[in-house]
Each structure stands twice: as C-alpha cells, then as structure tokens.
Subunit: 199 residues, 2 copies
C-alpha cells in the first residue's frame, strides 16, 4: 500500500515535481538542486530516495508506459463482447484522453526523453510501448477490416500525436472545460481513423 488517503509520500512528491521540471526544461536542463528545492529539501537529499537522477526518469517512463498498457488491457478485457469492436476502440480512445489530460507532463516526457535512459530501461519502455501500439492496431483492424496492418500502425501513431497534443492546447484554465475538450479530441480521433479506410 503505497498511497493512503490524499497525502503523497516524499518519494511521490519528488517524482511529480521531477516530471514537471523535466517536461518544462528537459532532462539535461534540470539540476538535482532544482528538483530538491521543488519539494523543500536541498540537492543531495534526493539520494536518500533514488540512486541517481537517471533513476527518477527511468521510474517515470516505465511507470507511464506500464500504466497505459495495463489500462488498455483492462479495458479490452472488460469490454462487452456483444457490443462490437467500435465500442472497444472508443474505450481505448477515452482512456488515452484521460491520461493525456490528467498527466500532461508525463505525456511530454513519454516521447521526448526516452533516449536518456540506460539501455535496459529503454528496451523495457520500448517493449511496453510496442505492446500498447499493437493492442490498438489489433482493435483498429477489427473495426476496419479493409485497412492493412502497416497503414493501421501508422494511423495509430498519428492519432497518438493528435491526442498527445494536449500540452499545446493552452493552460487548463483557458480550455473550454475538460469534458468539452475530451469530446473534441475523441471525435477528431474517430474521424481520423474513419478516414484511413477511404482510399
């Protein structure tokens, strides 16, 4: 039991602030002193919780990829088999949008700082990402049986680009409301997928 009520452990505080700082200024652009200052301790105190700066990034990226994948697997398993593949695709889109709207710094890190990882961690993250993509590709090919797999894969990557554009959509305050934005993104993703088949 890591998290109890609403109180974040020091370790979770560090991860959250590190994610924000890494997203804002890049992994190499943030010093450990800044990360420490963001949680109220100073510099080397971080080494009581993490073996090094790299380990924070690794835990963030592995965590993101893992949560995306397990969430998608759960949605796939919980889907009503009689409802048809379109409903499953909608569920995947909804889950990804929730993540993109709630964890914007992590979305930014996700495809930006992967190359700063140690080889073993990078391979793990890439494997999780690939499984996630292939899961989408499988569902997409069920919804649109006429679409070839390579086209489906490209389409999935492109729609991820669309959904992950949330960091560019302005501050959460200036958005027209979370539900409205989510709906807009959902319709656009569906529209983009629907246009793949029309060749």
């Amino acid at each position: 039991m890591t998290t109890r009520t609403d109180a974040l452990t020091r370790r979770e505080q560090i991860l959250k602030e590190a994610a924000r700082l890494f997203a804002e200024r890049g992994f190499h652009g943030v010093g450990v002193d800044e990360i420490g200052a963001a949680v109220g301790i100073s510099g080397p105190g971080l080494y009581r919780h993490f073996p090094g700066k790299d380990a924070m990034l690794a835990e963030l990226l592995v965590g993101i990829s893992g949560r995306l994948l397990t969430g998608a697997k759960r949605r796939l398993a919980e889907a009503d088999p009689a409802a048809g593949p379109g409903v499953v695709l909608d569920s995947l889109i909804e889950g990804h949008i929730d993540f993109a709207l709630d964890d914007r710094p992590l979305i930014t890190l996700h495809d930006r700082e992967l190359d700063r990882l140690r080889d073993s961690d990078r391979k793990l993250v890439r494997q999780l990402q690939r499984q996630y993509v292939e899961l989408w590709v499988g569902v997409l090919c069920e919804v649109y049986p006429d679409v070839a797999e390579p086209s489906a894969r490209s389409a999935v990557h492109s729609v991820f680009g669309l959904l992950n554009s949330t960091p560019h959509l302005g501050r959460p305050g200036s958005l027209p409301g979370r539900g409205v934005t989510a709906g807009l993104l959902h319709r656009m993703a569906r529209g983009a997928f629907g246009a793949v088949a029309a060749e």
Copy 2:
C-alpha cells in the same frame, strides 16, 4: 544568393548537422565538439561561423517558423478564389505534410526546444507560430462556418500533432513510400477536421 548548385556552404552543413543532433539527443545533450566533428572540424572552429551554440538553435527555429508561415501565406495568395475554401485547406495540409516528411529533425526541434532560446528569439518564434496557427484557423472557419473559433484553434493544434507524428512513423525506408504516407496523413487530417463540426 546563399546556396548555389547542390553544394552546401560550411555554415549550412553546420546547421543541418546541428539540427539532426539536437533532435536526436536534445539541445543540452549535444556538445559543440560533437557538432564540429559532424562537419569535419573540431570544437571551437564553429565560433568562426556562429557567435555561440544558442545562435545555432535560434537560427534553426526562426528559420522553421518563418518558412512555414511564408509558405502558407503563399499558398493562400495563390489559391483560386473560385475554388472554394476546401481547396485552400487541402493546400495548407499538403504544404505542412511536405515539411513534416522532408525536415523531420526540424519538426522535432520545433516544439521541443523552444524554451532554450533567449527571450527575444523565443518571442519572435512564438509570434511566427501564432500567425501560422491563426492563418489555419481562419481557413478552417471558412470551410466549417458552424465551428467556433476556440474549437477551431484546438483542432488546428491537434492536427499539427497528428501531422508532426512523422518522426514516430519509423525510418524513411520502412515507410510504404512517401506518396502513400502523405496521402494517409492528408486523409486523416481531413477526417479529423470534418469530425470537429459534428457536435
């Protein structure tokens, strides 16, 4: 007359290699010695061509934003007024796809390293980017008069995310051919825009 035939000046060589390296490992992740080595000279020799490392990034980002904007303005001006706004939108999409496919490192830098710029340069780039976005928003609102401006702006940013996903689409060799990829992206962008109106 900067470029003559096909020979790149030393200055252009440096910019090209710097763009590639910055895109691969991030601005802070690349040293001046590496940039120099990539063009066959060593380290501080770069300072005969640029006042500093920052200046290379600044010239790259200002160049990208400027070329995108002027290209879009040209397409808007050259469009046949009788052809209708849909054709203009297609022309904008086509231009952006050409850029995304031909200058993938610059696409990566475009929205990743903006914050590493000096204040004045960053303001200039942001202004160029904003003009580019507003130009798209204007055309989009002509094609879909029922779409409100804020929704149109969000939609444009999201479609940029979709079109700029080309760096994630695998190496140019593994793609099914430039024309096919361009067509796929174009249809998806159109499909995404078309789905905005259906609320």
